[in-house]
Symmetry: C3
Subunit: 273 residues, 3 copies
């Protein structure tokens, strides 16, 4: 089914509305185009409801939230819910400031999200009301590893039950779960952490995958997470000796552009728990 998940994106060209941060927005747009989707960005209160109405999915990312875009997130989220569209929350920096934590928690109250994607510190903040977010990166102390994997999966499934959302946590090990089933994914490269915005890009891509696979959302989310990690591996393999993080960023998006279902299937490294 992983293979079909990607093929459905390429076939259906899902239109994704992103209210996202201005740091990584260009990469989000290009990754959406690379995977087969179509991006549109809009964040004004007077514009977001119309724009989200013509899309299939909404990607809300609080990376550079402000007093103008926060109300837009609520308006667009509610409108998307009304229309039965896919909605994703990327709680960038939740735990790093009161505004970020409060906004993410309030969004969870007022909007129903299909997926919440973040690093482990952001997700812990949502689960427990506090985490040790180090800026926009996860704290080392929070990292998912083989020792705390079982315990982590247990509380992520509880968070999935509490929120009614698929929870996607990315890091050295990626976890994508609903209340019952957790994909434990071991694709990716540590060097991806030296590029800004691979998480934001993934959030856009997950949204596109869910729009194109409405009857198979958990696997679609997992397929997108695997695709990002695998693209990181392929992109790394394509690096020349003088390439660093700026070029690596492009090589990852390029790898997504070229990836087909067979490659995704063959490269996927995961188990289900």
């Amino acid at each position: 089914m992983m293979k079909e998940c990607l093929e459905n994106v390429r076939k259906n060209v899902p239109l994704v509305h992103s209210i996202t941060n201005y740091v990584t927005v260009n990469d989000v747009a290009n990754v959406l185009l690379a995977c087969g989707g179509s991006p549109i960005m809009s964040d004004d209160e007077g514009d977001v409801e119309d724009i989200t109405s013509i899309c299939g999915g909404l990607n809300i990312n609080i990376g550079t939230l402000n007093k103008n875009t926060i109300p837009s997130m609520f308006l667009a989220g509610k409108k998307a819910n009304e229309l039965g569209h896919v909605v994703l929350l990327d709680p960038v920096g939740a735990g790093a400031s009161k505004l970020r934590t409060d906004t993410a928690l309030q969004l969870l109250k007022e909007v129903k999200f299909d997926v919440i994607r973040g690093n482990i510190s952001e997700i812990k903040t949502l689960a427990f009301g506090s985490g040790s977010t180090k800026g926009v990166d996860a704290d080392v102390a929070d990292a998912v590893n083989d020792d705390n994997l079982d315990k982590t999966i247990t509380y992520l499934k509880e968070l999935a039950a509490w929120t009614g959302s698929i929870i996607a946590v990315t890091g050295a090990i990626d976890l994508v779960c609903d209340t019952e089933k957790c994909y434990v994914i071991r694709n990716g490269r540590p060097e991806m952490g030296r590029i800004t915005g691979t998480g934001c890009q993934l959030s856009g891509m997950i949204t596109a995958f869910l729009v194109a696979n409405p009857d198979n959302k958990l696997e679609a989310a997992a397929a997108a997470v695997i695709m990002m990690g695998l693209a990181g591996e392929i992109g790394y393999h394509n690096m020349q000796s003088c390439d660093g993080n700026a070029t690596y960023r492009n090589r990852i998006i390029d790898a997504i552009y070229h990836m087909d279902g067979e490659t995704l299937l063959a490269g996927a490294k995961y188990e289900i728990r």
Copy 2:
């Protein structure tokens, strides 16, 4: 004259003020530098009149318009008109939301534009008050092709008469016309549609070309459109096997950086109707 149009840009280094979206703004700045211009971005009501006054041209792009930047577009547009500067409108997403359509139409009423550049759906929205914009991309049903070319040119010339602007429509076939003369341009590659912002980049570049060629605006606009398409062809030719849309974006800007008047002239594929 195509050749001279480019050479005048490189010689005069036109300073272009862009009020543009935050998705593709970096590429707009780099493409302006690549073609020989100089970019400056400013979108606050308290700043735009001063900034546009020191520039030669103003590029207004409504891609991520909001309640703060919309008034700035009007202020800057009127100031640029007062000073006799070149002004361009890129009505991104006109037809996709009421705010975008209304803002574009109101700008057309209050500001005199030298050029309006958009995809065919956006331009149809301005011409007929409605189009079938699919997000920020043209609807397939609207696409310009050899069957509807004559009819399309006729109404674009009428739109040019109504607005007093040069109309530039980009797609598989590009059209650049005033009331009497239409450049039908067949440069470019379909893969350019898989990169975000080639249209926004082109709008910046057209503005620079008009500033540097004040007595020859229609041909200058056509030269910029040809240059973008030709750069798409050259950039594509320079692609390595693992390059995708992210790298292609850079290769196009790089091709603009290296292009000289001879190359532009030799690669131009157009007829005049």
Copy 3:
């Protein structure tokens, strides 16, 4: 000590809060990651104090200032001062508009900056209340050269005394001085001026260098300036025949990503006056 300055950045991973323009923000984030730091962007009044509190340094860049972000600059700057954090000002376009000049001068009054980094026209505007800024680029008439070097160093040292800040002026010759000592740096390539944002990137990087080298701020600032210029030389050396400014941008960040202390030391071209 140059070598140690870089090594301290890589070892300490300084977290830098940037309130910066949306044109070059992605490159600022990636260059911070490339040199060994960690970026976070936040510009809302309700968010900046929390965010700056968890960081080691604050980078204020007025490139696309607006009525919402200007108050955030003051709030964050004062909070960072309170906490004894490193604070840098990049007065983009000071001299090009009243709002930019006034904001930069008012920031100098209310916030204590460790470093002010700009082109010579922006710095002259701060020093004399007027300069001949041509948009965001320095005016040719202002350029630092061997004829006016002594005179320039003299007034930069006076500006350092007046502001209590390290002054970093970048151009064909880079100058980094406090009241007593001036690094005259001759690294870099003229082609760097054809890329948007190398100055903004450098400001982010200087901030990271100062955070990681609190007892050696002048040399840390000089090391960052040298590193940027040297990366421009290395990146240029790595260019393929079809590469232009878009790819050059990545190659510079890539060169920073790979640079070690030995390379920095061996490639540094400077004298102290």
